[in-house]
Subunit: 288 residues, 2 copies
Amino acid sequence: MRDFSRDHRWLSINTATLRGAGTLDTIIEACVRHGIRAISPWRDQVHAIGLERTTELVRGLTLELSGYCRGGMFPALDPAGRRAALDDNRRAVDEAKQLEATCLVLVVGGLPGALGGTPQSKDLFAARADVRDGIAATLEYARSVGMPLAIEPLHPMYCADRACVNTLAQALDLCDELDRSAGGALGVVVDAYHVWWDPLLKSQIERAGDKRLLAFHICDWLVPTTDLLTDRGMMGDGVIDLPLMRSWMEDAGYRGFHEVEILSSNNWWRRDPDEVLTTCRVRHQTAC
Amino acid sequence: MRDFSRDHRWLSINTATLRGAGTLDTIIEACVRHGIRAISPWRDQVHAIGLERTTELVRGLTLELSGYCRGGMFPALDPAGRRAALDDNRRAVDEAKQLEATCLVLVVGGLPGALGGTPQSKDLFAARADVRDGIAATLEYARSVGMPLAIEPLHPMYCADRACVNTLAQALDLCDELDRSAGGALGVVVDAYHVWWDPLLKSQIERAGDKRLLAFHICDWLVPTTDLLTDRGMMGDGVIDLPLMRSWMEDAGYRGFHEVEILSSNNWWRRDPDEVLTTCRVRHQTAC
């Protein structure tokens, strides 16, 4: 395995980790102050300061983007809804391309209306069909501009409202169906938080191989976990065997970034961003 | 499918659904008042009023037990811990036998110490090995007294603290490994709440068949879900397509009870037990 004990060349910060720290320019400044070489920004944070301003900052500071968060959210009740989702994904591809991101992360969506709290369907098959069709259409465009798409299987507890793709096997089945050539245009995000429990994880990471493994997100599963969305832990504070998972990723050929994504409304989002980043750096070296 | 629209012959109440209603004798009286024919009691509730008293009540009222909750919790850090778990499971088998339960439900356990809030290991492989060995040892005894064991795969969000068996496929793999004859000594609980998200659910229910399908638990997945353990919904209030899942169960040969198990600290546990049971009966007829 790569030796991370003395540097953080492969550490990336997903900017959701610093949601408590202000706007994206402030977050980027903090990352640069800590010698961070790569980030993965969220679209809402980019839009808040503008795509042009973000592009200037990223280029001026020679930051890399380990990903761009996020496209997806394909399922809808009617053709107009599906069309709107495709249009939005096309814009997300363009933004990712302008920012020269490694990939556009796809959080594929769940049951229509559920994210807003009022699910309008119980039809998981329909939602999954919308996801397949939405990825297929988006892939056609993304391939034409050279932006890889990375399907992120989310933990099954998000099946209703955020993503009805919930295992790495399911995501890879989609990849194999929609991108037979497996040349890097379509792949997956392995986020430790979402997949650590999966008894098939090791074999599916092997199956994915380096062409499909487009990103690796890290944080930790806390015991107890008090909130389904925003009680994620700093690496080392939970029960995920991150070094073991990393060894599987590297055995499969992955050589990219370790992207720290911690949604933590009651802990890390409330702390000083310098403390958060210092801790990320230390834990990246000692707990991953 | 069986017509449940006019009777509740196959409705069973898991007594955890009435945790707010007092001791088990009170809960049983309430069930009988509503013409319920079957229950599935929890061991702590049985122990609180005594096994003999419970046996008297169940026999005197000719109640059936759709299951007995629960054995399992096998993983431990050392041989003494594993031995204690086996001893406890043997007692659970004896209690289930005395109560003439359909099966002993196994919630297999997660990482040692995690249920108490202080996980002492991150080794999921070791935990799963303890589970396999624990079921094997318990099965030998359970088979000798004629008590079927039913492995309940729990939702992956309980992997750390409650059960590291998290999919129906994983549970069935254990069944096939430990009980090749598939004569009914070892099978599974399909709990809608735990497995509804699984893209392989339909095929795995087919794979299980009637010999492995020992129990069917129902409730609903609420959107949003505000607590990982005790925010489960009444059938019809969430997003699970229960009639579809029931059709898969019956196509596979299942003809047993529909056991309502709703852990709901902020809603159903606070309501009058008669209202809870009336609602269970109505929803069993209209939403399942």
